[in-house]
Subunit: 203 residues, 2 copies
């Protein structure tokens, strides 16, 4: 994707996760936050807002990562959007950066609003690998771990071990690694670098 | 404490939870948020920020509840501060409302920065009731449930059942109810109504 973040600049890196209630969106966000902050040494704000939109069963959680202080704690422009359902994809695909990346569960998200997208059958991978649909969030977390430019998969594994409810760390790690593997098997270089014509010109 | 919220006004009600890592502060905040939003019908923002402060092992989570839209998602002035450790109490006792309320675990918080305080041995109650120190967060949540003016203990019980990691709902409810009982046994009317002399005059 973009170059690894090694230059110490302190711009924001923003991740939004969306799905339906009970899919483990908040746990995934808390794990991302802890991996970035406790293991990666970044400043992190992690939040979920519940409003009228939650009535439809949609669920959203956000993680803002920075090297410097974070003045506004919620996502301003999305670098990575995870969508586990079509409804979440429709509702949360806004403020998407021209070079942002959508990760969609191909099992449920059929209408893709951008060509900057990776579509993988997270739910099917979870079922095949662990037999538990509830590990879909961890498969998707593996994909986020591969494509994001700040949080490493090694730090994510530490956070998964610390944060998984009693007895579920091993199965969660198994699902996470299946997500990492499936994402690494993709050729991301074929994605358009940006969906904004102006940005393409600048490059 | 203050009158129950029945008038439909949409001011903010702000709860900050502090402890050390591993005490279940984030889970308690997520449960408060879901009780308020999904069961109570309020607008809610729930967040945790990780910065240099987290290095000391301190952990903070915040819940902002309102009847109208929430424009700024983090706590501005604290209505309720829960402090499970002295370090958390020292670090997070700021922007405290004159009529705010501090809930402190008397087992660990010896120096109390306000007289608007309820000091209860949350950890000891957890050990006596469930034999598990990890249910301290649920005992404290029971206290928050009694003293806050928006979120009901019935809604909190529903959220505890939905959000407790597999197999822990019953023990969590047991701890929660012990916290409710211990707090209801206190005579809160003896607390000063406000720590601000000006506010006392206004009343």
């Amino acid at each position: 994707m973009t170059a690894a973040k090694k230059d110490g600049s302190d711009d924001r890196y923003e991740i939004r996760l969306g799905g339906s209630g009970g899919q483990g969106i908040i746990l995934a966000a808390v794990i991302l936050a802890e991996a970035a902050a406790i293991h990666g040494g970044y400043q992190v704000c992690q939040s979920q807002s519940y409003g009228p939109e939650a009535r439809g069963g949609r669920c959203k959680a956000e993680v803002v990562v920075a090297t410097g202080e974070i003045d506004y704690p919620q996502v301003i422009m999305v670098d990575i959007l995870l969508a586990l359902t079509q409804e979440a994809c429709d509702a949360y695909f806004h403020n998407f950066k021209p070079n942002g990346l959508l990760l969609a569960d191909s099992t449920f998200v059929k209408q893709l609003p951008t060509s900057r997208v990776i579509s993988l059958p997270f739910t099917r991978i979870a079922m095949e690998k662990t037999g538990k649909a509830m590990t879909t969030n961890m498969v998707a977390l593996g994909a986020v771990g591969v494509v994001n430019r700040l949080i490493t998969t090694a730090h994510l594994e530490k956070a998964i071990q610390a944060r998984s409810p009693h007895g579920s760390a091993q199965v969660n790690l198994q699902a996470f690694r299946a997500g990492v593997k499936a994402t690494k098997a993709l050729d991301l270089s074929k994605l358009p670098r940006s969906v904004s014509p102006e940005e393409e010109d600048e490059v």
